[in-house]
Symmetry: C2
């Protein structure tokens, strides 16, 4: 791949304003959700997300590599977080019987409790900050835009999540 020869197609004024507002959302929204969860439940947004993904799967069990995909995280980051969460008793690791290389994370009872205690406040925050200020049409437009963006961010896996056995 050539280092794309200058394509100075600058942004139009409108595009630039749209982008700058997106950057604001991109930085403030995660920070706000993090603060809420940390304050009310002692979890970072990422930790919550990990536990939440586990809780949504019937077996409460996922391989780390899948958990990494689901949370858009590196295996390294996930490995560290899983170790800490295990230390706190919110989940445990066990070897995958089908693949000697793999590990599974299993939500414990304490972990289930923690997500269930954290969820209402988190959902309230998501509603307040994102869902409620938009009418249904706007939310679905936002969703469509995100799907298109994700198509560019990850051309590989944008070919649909066949999994997610809710």
């Amino acid at each position: 791949m050539t280092p794309d020869s200058e394509d100075p197609r600058w942004l139009t004024a409108e595009q630039r304003l749209a982008w700058l507002d997106m950057v604001r959302v991109l930085t403030r929204l995660p920070a706000t959700l993090d603060a809420q969860l940390e304050r009310d439940a002692g979890l970072s947004f990422f930790e919550y997300h990990v536990l939440s993904m586990l809780s949504e799967v019937p077996s409460h069990t996922l391989r780390l590599s899948r958990l990494a995909q689901l949370t858009s995280s590196s295996l390294s980051r996930l490995s560290n977080v899983v170790k800490r969460l295990e230390g706190r008793g919110l989940l445990r690791r066990e070897p995958d019987p089908d693949d000697g290389r793999a590990s599974r994370a299993v939500l414990t009872a304490a972990g289930t409790d923690a997500v269930e205690r954290a969820a209402p406040g988190h959902v309230t925050a998501v509603r307040e900050l994102v869902v409620d200020p938009l009418d249904p049409a706007q939310l679905s437009q936002l969703h469509a835009a995100h799907e298109r963006i994700l198509g560019r961010l990850d051309p590989a896996s944008s070919s649909r999540p066949e999994w997610l056995e809710t």
Copy 2:
């Protein structure tokens, strides 16, 4: 432990999918932009943003507190980053003549160079990932959604950024 459904107003299936896709964008987009800038220009996205804000102001000078607002960062984080950028010669700090407590960041020639070298690749990435996959109507809908979200994130300053001074 759900005290009979209604209190936390759970998300509908559609809202939940929209939110999960937003979370993916929220985590992957900054990571991707960071990687591109770091690889091609040796700057983090945040560093680029700081330099870029300075370069857009005629005097190439801003008070740190204003720079913090413009980049949605804490003063503490900004202070650290400014110190590092100063060490690399991309900007310098000087006391504000009008207020003994304040400091100003001033872009140096090397800093101007750095932004100008980094900008084309960054803009290309932003176009590829966000602007191009959306048609103009979608982009403006996205912008509208972000404005509403920002209204909730920061009720105070959502009253127009009247900047471009100093």
